[in-house]
Amino acid sequence: MEKNEGFMRALKCRECGREYPLAATHVCEFDFGPLEVVYDYDRIKTSLTRESIQSRAKSMWRYRELLPVANDPTVGLQVGFTPLVKADRLAKRLGIRELWIKNDTVNYPSLSFKDRVVSVALSRAKELGFTTVACASTGNLANSVAANAASVGLRAYVFIPSDLEQGKILNSLIYGAQVIGIKGHYDEVNRLCAEIAGKFGWAFVNVNMRPYYAEGSKSMGYEIMEQLGWHIPKHTVVCMASGSLLTKIQKSYQEFIKLRLVSEIDFKIHGAQATGCSPITTAQKAGLDFFKPVKPNTIAKSLAIGTPADGFYALKVMKETDGSSEDVTDDEIRDGIRMLAESEGIFAETAGGVTVGVAKKLIASGKIPSNDSAVLCITGNGLKTMDAVNGHAGYPREIKPSLREFEAMISEEEKAFKG
């Protein structure tokens, strides 16, 4: 009997097209190209319609046919379907007609978009018989692996740069995960994990499980289209660490077009990085199709990947969609965080500040025309990177519990507010 692989057909090398069985493996033996899941779209078309999607629970798994698990998912069933917020007040500040925030700061359970990729990777890891899961992480992924593994009793090892924000470290430890701090930057953590993954029989979500894991990001794009009333946004701004999310947003739009769930339009995907770690935007702005690795130095630690695995493909997506890119300084990142918080009541982590800051620049330069509409992908929660804004958001004023003292303090402000 043929093995049940759900709607998946095979793993296929993006470079040479060689096919491989649907195992825990991520690179082609011949050219080291990335392996990607191939689906049976003809079969998907018969079961995935707007009606079938809308009849299902409000989670990322309502697009289950397009996610790489053979059977029903077993980890992270409540992940996704985060709010798409119409951001009129921020639109005004950035000078654009219409703006939407895809708000993954409130993704379940660990408050970042990484819950999407992890629920896929761990569901698939369980199907393949793994009992230990692991990852190389700049923080959010470690939090998500730790939380989701705990929820189903998998053993978890998470590897992080040892100088991460306290919030991100505690948010992995609390779930009982084995947290290994590496004295080095993320690229060094990643290299070590690639070597560990070759030696230990673990499911490393972003190494040997990467073909499955990365597909989870597509759900963010599916949700955006459905929440816009089955439309592709004209402009999407996405922050880039490895560049994987940006490439998967494009893939999600292309798949919905292929399945006739949305109409085809010319959409542009724009990339955002921090100036202190901008290998992809630097290459994009110079018109190159390859990037030069850098040593990161930015407060946006979740984006601090100097050798981005999907940098080459992210550049390709921006070129194909006629998108552009920008990068922003640490001060501009903090301004971006504050703008989003003050105008929309959404507290994003540093990566969100990067996306807002870059959107502001792209609108100002006309690369996103002011009479258009754009979606900003906000990927993580500000409560996890408080170190970055501590001291930059003002301080509380202290007074005695005295009405007279309060009135004296407030009178000038009340006049100004009413005036």
Partner: protein, 91 residues
């Protein structure tokens, strides 16, 4: 004392499943040629037609990416450890 090259999983079919190979060459470029002489076919997996290290291959000497050193001209000294790692990982 020779230098050690750690071989990644996708290349171990070529090295009879050896995961560490010892070489005596003085640079990364020469070490790749030395590997080829002992394990024919390995060089074309690592470098392209123009002789450049392939886009999806990262090479490290003692944990440092050779692109931050002198690429294939990076000198090797006794006891150095070289890692060959698929670039597609992480993030």
């Amino acid at each position: 004392m020779p230098k050690k090259v750690r071989i990644p999983t996708p290349l171990r079919k070529l090295t009879n499943n050896e995961d560490v190979i010892e070489v005596t060459s003085g640079t990364i470029g020469d070490a790749i040629t030395e590997l080829q002489s002992r394990y024919p076919g390995i060089k074309e997996r690592l470098v392209d037609d123009k002789g450049e290290v392939r886009r999806f291959v990262n090479v490290y000497v003692n944990e440092e990416d050779i692109r931050f050193l002198q690429n294939q001209n990076t000198p090797l000294k006794d006891g150095d450890e070289i890692s060959i790692i698929p670039a597609i990982a992480g993030g």
